[in-house]
């Protein structure tokens, strides 16, 4: 069996001492930074990315994946303990998790979150191992036209889930694509949008954009509403769920995992949609639905299983097609490019150790989360209670040094400051930055694929619509766009995000 050979290779790769230690380091650092209020997985990865440049590609990606799970879990921890979800995907966890914490059941809520995540992670590791290879087979048959249309679909799908105005999100995508154009044109060698700066000849480093928007912009946004936070944490005790807890956990975890796996694979989908969906599902079908919102264990187990499943499944489009489903995956792709690996379906053939190593490390990372986090809860609690004005100067320092590690040029520092400024301005105007980052990563690829598709068709633009797979994807993208523009849908969407804001 190909899958078992692959997994064997993967575990052989991931279980070396070096890779294990970097996976552990990643999970630890990811959780440590992820528990800090106001820092989600994207910001965490952006800040820690430069630390992985010196590592070999496999190790770097394993560490980054570890950081991602850690940050994800760290977000749930803050959601439960202080009602401050670090990212959208743990917003619903805060509903019941925080209530449980207030009732003195914080330990059990945290353990439930960890166990639910671990179960979902295990299932998804095998799902990815099973489905990724056949998907790459299909992807290998894709021509440039299909790739272009797939990217259009991915970008459109990312808007549906972005909160705020759809029109503005569309604009953010276009700005991202335009930013991707900056630099030397690969075909003609023309310098585009460089304003004569030699530093821009190779384009804008995506780490700079990500750090500026997610790191610096976030800091300013957090400083705006400072001092309104009440971080009072009771002592966490009684980690072990009771027999009753276990019994009530089983069904929600299964439902959450199933829903998360399906939703996570969609382009633009992923963790946030999965956890919202899972919570809504529990509200409909759970036997204890009356208790939901008042500290029901189901309200923690289902969304946590779903968001971990969703987060992990978003690796599938990233690993097989080279297409990011969310900003975190965009950062992963950026990391691969920096490591000299061309993301896409060829990765599994050319870098089997990397492909399977990352998959195997997902499961190992999930075990580490379970083993590491429950005993270390005391430490995380202490980290949460550090006031923000003591924390953010360190983030500022890390970003500023990290950006210098790219090419040791102060120009990059100024560019980061500019993107920090823009990040804050866009936030104030209700323009979601995630579509911009996706557009920025996909921009150069989209242009190249479009150019090749049109070259092959001898200038016949209808090629995008006459090839069936390409046409289907464009049709889906159009349908999605129409759907979100429909008044009824946009109303429910607004309500869903309003619920989230509470």
């Amino acid at each position: 069996m190909e899958v078992f050979d692959g997994l064997a290779l993967g575990f052989a790769t991931a279980l070396t001492i070096t890779n294990l230690s970097y996976c552990l380091l990643g999970v630890f650092l990811g959780t440590a930074i992820g528990v800090l209020p106001g820092l989600g997985p994207a910001a965490t990865i952006a800040i820690l990315l430069p630390a992985t440049f010196a590592l070999p590609p496999v190790t770097a990606l394993i560490m980054l994946a570890g950081i991602f799970y850690g940050a994800q879990y760290g977000g749930s921890t803050t959601a439960i303990l202080v009602n401050l979800p670090g990212e959208t995907s743990s917003v619903v966890t805060a509903l019941d998790g925080y209530q449980m914490a207030r009732q003195g059941k914080a330990g059990r809520a945290l353990a439930t979150a960890a166990i639910a995540s671990f179960f979902a992670g295990t299932v998804c590791t095998f799902l990815i191992a099973l489905f990724a290879p056949p998907l790459t087979e299909i992807a290998l048959k894709f021509g440039p036209a299909e790739y272009f249309s797939l990217m259009v679909l991915g970008l459109i799908a990312s808007i549906v889930l972005a909160s705020g105005s759809i029109l503005h999100a569309l604009g953010m995508i276009i700005i991202g694509l335009l930013l991707g154009v900056v630099g030397t044109d690969v075909n003609a060698g023309t310098q585009r949008f460089t304003f004569g700066f030699l530093e821009l000849a190779d384009g804008i480093g995506f780490v700079i954009v990500a750090m500026g928007i997610f790191g610096i912009g976030e800091i300013v946004a957090n400083l705006e509403s400072e001092g309104t936070r009440d971080v009072s944490i009771k002592k966490v005790s009684g980690l072990m769920p009771t027999r009753e807890d276990w019994r009530r956990m089983v069904a929600p975890v299964l439902r959450g995992t199933a829903l998360g796996s399906v939703l996570g694979i969609l382009p633009g989908g992923g963790a946030a949609l999965a956890s919202f969906g899972a919570y809504a599902l529990e509200k409909k079908v759970s036997r204890n639905r009356a208790e939901l919102g008042k500290g029901a264990i189901e309200g923690v187990a289902a969304p946590e299983a779903a968001n971990n499943a969703g987060a992990q499944m978003s690796f599938i489009p990233m690993l097989t097609l080279g297409i990011p489903a969310n900003p975190v995956m965009a950062l992963m792709i950026g990391a691969m490019i920096i490591q000299g690996i061309q993301p896409g379906p060829s990765v599994i053939k050319e870098q089997p150790a990397l492909f399977w190593g990352v998959i195997a490390s997902m499961w190992i990372g999930n075990i580490m989360l379970l083993v590491l986090n429950l005993p270390l809860i005391g430490l995380w609690v202490r980290m949460i209670s550090v006031p923000y004005h003591f924390l953010y100067p360190s983030i500022l320092a890390f970003c500023s040094i990290g950006v210098l590690s790219l090419s040791n040029s102060p120009f990059d520092v100024y560019l980061m400051a500019l993107f920090g400024f823009l990040g804050y301005v866009f936030k104030k105007l209700d323009c979601e930055p995630a579509p911009l980052l996706l557009g920025f990563i996909l921009g150069p690829m989209m242009e190249e694929y479009l150019r090749r598709a049109l070259l092959l068709s001898k200038g016949d633009a209808t090629v995008l619509l006459t090839r069936p797979i390409s046409a289907t994807m464009l049709f889906l993208a159009g349908a999605l766009l129409l759907l979100v523009l429909l008044p009824t849908f946009s109303k429910t969407r607004e309500e869903a995000f309003k619920e989230e804001a509470v």
Binding site: H168, L178, F193, S457
Partner: protein, 163 residues
């Protein structure tokens, strides 16, 4: 004028989009357009710029004809302090060296917070952070950033002769 703008966020976003789009279009007009079959370097950016302008115009249109939320209070002080601190760091890091640049960055950045007090605790934290960064990034990871830059080298020399 402001009386007719019923959706300020749409207004400002539209203005930014149209501005960025027009600027990009103007620059992209200088690059070869090519044909559909042989896209030149100007093809893709021009198409994008036109789409961006169109989106911006719709947003501007909406600003006068739909009801939207106002732009909430902009935190100018943190924004300018943080951005300024990073720019200052960029100016200083290769001239005065990492230590000075970090001190300025941290001090100026931290002062952006309304909770900031320049006391023993803050100084202690700052020194610790600078020391840790210098040790980890320059000594440990070997980043080629001078701890003490050319501006302060003479000072170092004077200190050396004193000893």
């Amino acid at each position: 004028m402001t009386r007719w703008i019923t959706s300020p966020r749409d207004f400002w976003t539209g203005l930014i989009y149209v501005g960025l789009g027009a600027g990009s279009l103007w620059l992209a007009l200088g690059y070869k357009f090519g044909t559909v079959g042989r896209m030149g370097p100007g093809y893709f950016p021009r198409v994008l710029a036109v789409i961006l302008i169109a989106i911006g115009l719709v947003s501007l249109f909406r600003a006068f004809f739909s009801k939207g939320e106002p732009v909430t209070h902009i935190a100018f002080k943190p924004l300018l302090m943080i951005v300024g601190a990073i720019v200052a760091y960029g100016l200083l890091v290769h001239t005065a060296g990492l230590i000075v640049a970090l001190l300025v960055l941290i001090l100026m950045g931290a002062a952006a917070s309304s909770q900031f007090r320049f006391d023993v605790k803050a100084i202690f934290g700052m020194v610790l952070l600078v020391a840790a960064c210098s040790a980890v990034f320059v000594k440990g990871l070997g980043l080629p950033i001078p701890l003490v830059g050319p501006w302060l080298q003479p000072l170092l020399g004077v200190l050396g002769t004193l000893r």
